[in-house]
Amino acid sequence: MLEHVGPQLFNGLVLGAFYAIVAIGLSLIMNLTGTINMAHGSFMTLAGYLAFSMIARGTNFWFAFLVAPLLAVLVAIIVERTLIRPLYGRDPVYSLLLTFGLSLIAEELFHVVWGANTLPFAPPAALGGTLALGFMNFPVYRLFIVIVLVFAFGLLGLFLYRTRFGLRLRAAVQDSEMIAALGTNTQLLYTINFGLGILLAGIAGVLAVGLLGLNPTTGNTLLMPAFVTVIIGGMGSLYGSLVAGVLIGVATSLMTLYVPAASEVVIYILMAVVLTIRPRGLFGEEGLFG
C-alpha cells in the first residue's frame, strides 16, 4: 500500500495547486468587494475555449496560453463594470445569484458557439510524455502545471506585497472608505482586482482543459472545491489558499486509496468542520466576512 502513497501525494499536489490558484482568484474578488463569483468557472472555460479557437486558427500553444486569459480578463472587466458594480455594498446573496445566472448564460453560449460536444484539446508535444520518477511515471504536463502555478503564485505575492498598487489593494481590503478619502480611485481598484482574479482563473482554465477536456461545463467542476479551499484557507490569505488547496488536493487523493467513495465528499465534510469550528479559516484575515 505504501508504494501507492507516493504517487497519490504527487497527484494531490497537482490537484491542490489547481484548487489553490482558482481559490486565490475567488478570494481576491470576495475579500475586497464581497462579491461571490459563481461565474468564476465560466471564465476558466471561456479562456479554454478561446485558447482552443486560437490554436485551431494556427497560433501555437504558448501564444494562446498567454493571450487567452487576457481576453477573458477583457470580458471580465466589461462584466464587472456593467453588472457587478451595482451590487457593491449589498448582501452577498445577490452577487451569488447574479453570477450564477451569468454562469447559466455562459454555459449555453458556449454550447451555441462551440457545440455541446467535448472538444479535443491536447497540450503540445513538448509537454507530453512522462518522467520516470522511480515509484511512478509522472506526466510532464502535470509538472508543467505545478511550475506555472507556483510561478503565478510567486508573481502574485510579489505584486501584492512589494508594489505600491498591491499595497493599495491590501489597504482597500481593510478600509476602502479611508483609502478613497485619501484619494485612491476605489472603483478602478475594484475593477483591477476583479480582472486580477479572472486572470488567475483564465490561466487555470487553459491549463485545466489540457487535463480535463473542453466542454461547456469544464470550469464548473473546479468551482465548488475552490470555494471550499477559500473557506478552509481563510479569505484574503494568499498563503491560506495555497495551504488549503494542497491540503484538500492531498486529502482527496489519499482518500481514493482508503475510502474511495468518500473522496469527493470529503471536501464538503472538511468545509463543514472548518465552518463549525473556525469559520475564518486557517489563516483568515479580517475582511468582509469577519
Binding site: 501507492h4 504517487p7 487523493s253 467513495a261
Partner: protein, 427 residues
C-alpha cells in the same frame, strides 16, 4: 389616507396576480408551428442541453429521418406524422413533467427518446401511468427491460448486460483473462460491474483490481497510478461520456495506453471526437457503425441508403457522420410506426402487441426483434478497435469493427429475465 392605501394595495396585489395569470395565459398565444389537422403526433423527449445534448440531437436526427421516410410513403393510416420535441435536460423530474405535458397537453399518442438512465426510468414510469407507448431509444440501464419493465415500453439500444458480455468475451480472447476495472461508483457502473463479474465467472478469468470512482471525479490520476503495479492483461474502462474522455486523456498522459491494452463495454463516436488522436485507442463495444459492412450487412440496401441519405441531408450541418444514436432514433421510430401500421391503430396496447416478437429487417445486419418477455431489442452488438485519425478518405471514420456478437449470446436468457421482469397488459 388609509382608504387610498388599501386601493393601492389591492391594485398591487391584483397586478401581481395579473402577472401570474398572464404567464399562464401566454402559452395560449404561442402557435405550435406547422400543426396539420389530423396528424399523428409523437412526443420526442431528448436532452438538448447539458452533457448529453450531442447524443440527444443525434437521436432526434435519426427519428426525423424515419418520419420523413414514412411521410414520403403516405404516412401511417393515411395520416402524416409529426413530432413534438421537448428538452428533458437529463433531469428525471423534468423528463416526467414533459412526458405528461406531451401526452395531456399536446395530445401525443406515443413517446420516444431519452439518453440518460434516470430520464429513461422516469419517463417509463410516467408513460406507463398514462398508458402510452414509449420507446426508450437511448437509455442503457438494465432496469428498463429488467425490474422496471412495463408493457408499454420498448428499449432499442443494448442493455448494460449485453454491452459487458459482448466486449468481455472479445477482450478476454484477445488479451487474456486478468482484468482491471475503473468503474463509476453509481447505479450504471455497478450494473456494468455485475455484468462483467458474470463474464469473468463464465470464462474463468480474474479481477486484479477494481477502482470505484465516485460521482464528480474528473481527475482519475489517483486510480490510474494503481493500474501499473497490478499488471492486468486488460484495463477495462467502464466510465462513460465526459468521464471517459477525461480518464482516457489522463491514462494517455500517464503512458498507460502504451503499456496495457485498454477496452470497455461501450464507446460512442461523440466522446471519441473529444479526444486527441493519441488517446484514441483500445477495443470497445459499439452499437452500430456507419462504415462497416459487419454492422450494416453487405447487401443491406436499407442500411446503405440510410447512410447515403444522412450524408446527403445532414453532413453539411452536422459536420460529423451518423453515430449509433442516429441508428437508435431511426430504428425506434421506424418500428413504432410499423407497429401502428400493422395494428391499424394508434392505440398503445394494440400497437405494443403488434410490435413485440415481430422479426424485422432494418439498417443493420441480420435484422432483429423486440423480445416479447421484456421488450428488449435483440440485435447484434459489435466490438471495434479505434483508428486514431480515421481513414485517408474519411477522417471521422474512427471505428474499426472486428467482431460481431449475436444478441442471444450476450443477453440474459428469457428464463433468467423472467425472475425479475413480468410484463402485464392492462385488462
Amino acid at each position: 389616507m388609509s382608504g387610498s392605501a388599501f386601493n393601492r394595495r389591492t391594485f398591487v396585489k391584483g397586478a401581481g396576480v395579473g402577472a401570474a395569470a398572464l404567464v399562464m395565459g401566454v402559452p395560449a398565444f404561442i402557435p405550435r408551428l406547422g400543426e396539420a389537422a389530423d396528424a399523428i403526433k409523437i412526443g420526442v423527449l431528448e436532452p438538448y442541453t447539458g452533457t448529453y445534448a450531442f447524443p440527444g440531437e443525434n437521436e432526434t436526427i435519426g427519428i426525423q429521418m424515419a418520419i420523413d421516410a414514412w411521410n414520403k410513403k403516405g404516412g401511417v393510416l393515411g395520416r402524416q406524422i409529426e413530432i413534438v420535441k421537448e428538452d428533458e435536460q437529463s433531469k428525471p423530474d423534468v423528463a416526467a413533467q414533459k412526458a405528461r405535458k406531451l401526452v395531456n397537453q399536446d395530445k401525443c399518442v406515443a413517446l420516444i427518446g431519452t439518453v440518460s438512465s434516470g430520464s429513461s426510468i422516469s419517463v417509463q414510469k410516467a408513460s406507463s401511468d398514462m398508458g402510452v407507448l414509449f420507446f426508450a431509444s437511448g437509455g442503457h440501464t438494465d432496469d428498463v427491460t429488467g425490474k422496471n419493465c412495463t408493457w408499454n415500453t420498448f428499449r432499442t439500444c443494448h442493455s448494460t448486460w449485453m454491452e459487458a458480455h459482448a466486449t468481455g468475451y472479445t477482450l478476454a480472447k484477445k488479451f487474456g483473462k486478468k482484468f482491471y476495472f475503473i468503474t463509476p461508483d453509481y447505479a450504471f457502473g455497478h450494473a456494468l460491474q455485475t455484468a462483467f463479474d458474470d463474464v469473468i465467472k463464465q470464462i474463468g478469468g480474474s479481477t486484479v483490481g477494481t477502482d470505484l470512482t465516485p460521482l464528480g471525479t474528473t481527475d482519475f490520476s489517483s486510480y490510474l497510478t494503481k493500474v501499473g503495479p497490478a499488471k492486468p492483461d486488460v484495463l477495462v474502462v467502464l466510465v462513460q461520456g465526459d468521464d471517459y474522455t477525461n480518464c482516457m486523456k489522463q491514462a494517455d498522459s500517464f503512458g498507460l495506453l502504451k503499456k496495457f491494452p485498454v477496452g470497455g463495454p461501450q464507446v460512442e463516436l461523440e466522446p471519441l471526437y473529444g479526444l486527441a488522436p493519441e488517446a484514441r485507442t483500445g477495443f470497445w463495444g459499439i452499437e452500430w457503425s456507419y462504415s462497416s459492412d459487419l454492422c450494416l450487412g453487405k447487401g443491406n440496401k436499407a442500411a446503405h441508403q440510410f447512410v447515403k441519405d444522412y450524408f446527403a441531408h445532414y453532413l453539411n450541418t452536422q459536420k460529423k457522420p451518423p453515430t449509433a444514436r442516429q441508428c437508435f432514433g431511426y430504428v425506434s421510430m421506424d418500428r413504432m410506426l410499423a407497429g401502428m401500421a400493422a395494428a391499424k391503430t394508434t392505440d398503445s396496447v394494440k400497437v405494443a402487441r403488434a410490435i413485440e416478437g415481430e422479426k424485422f429487417q432494418s439498417i443493420f445486419i441480420d435484422g432483429g426483434y423486440y423480445r416479447k418477455e421484456d421488450h428488449q431489442l435483440m440485435w447484434p452488438m459489435w466490438v471495434a478497435g479505434i483508428r486514431p485519425n480515421g481513414t485517408p478518405s474519411d477522417p471521422n471514420d474512427l471505428l474499426d469493427v472486428i467482431a460481431k456478437h449475436d444478441a442471444d449470446t450476450i443477453e440474459q436468457s428469457v428464463a433468467e429475465k423472467a425472475k425479475i421482469c413480468k410484463i402485464v397488459y392492462p385488462s
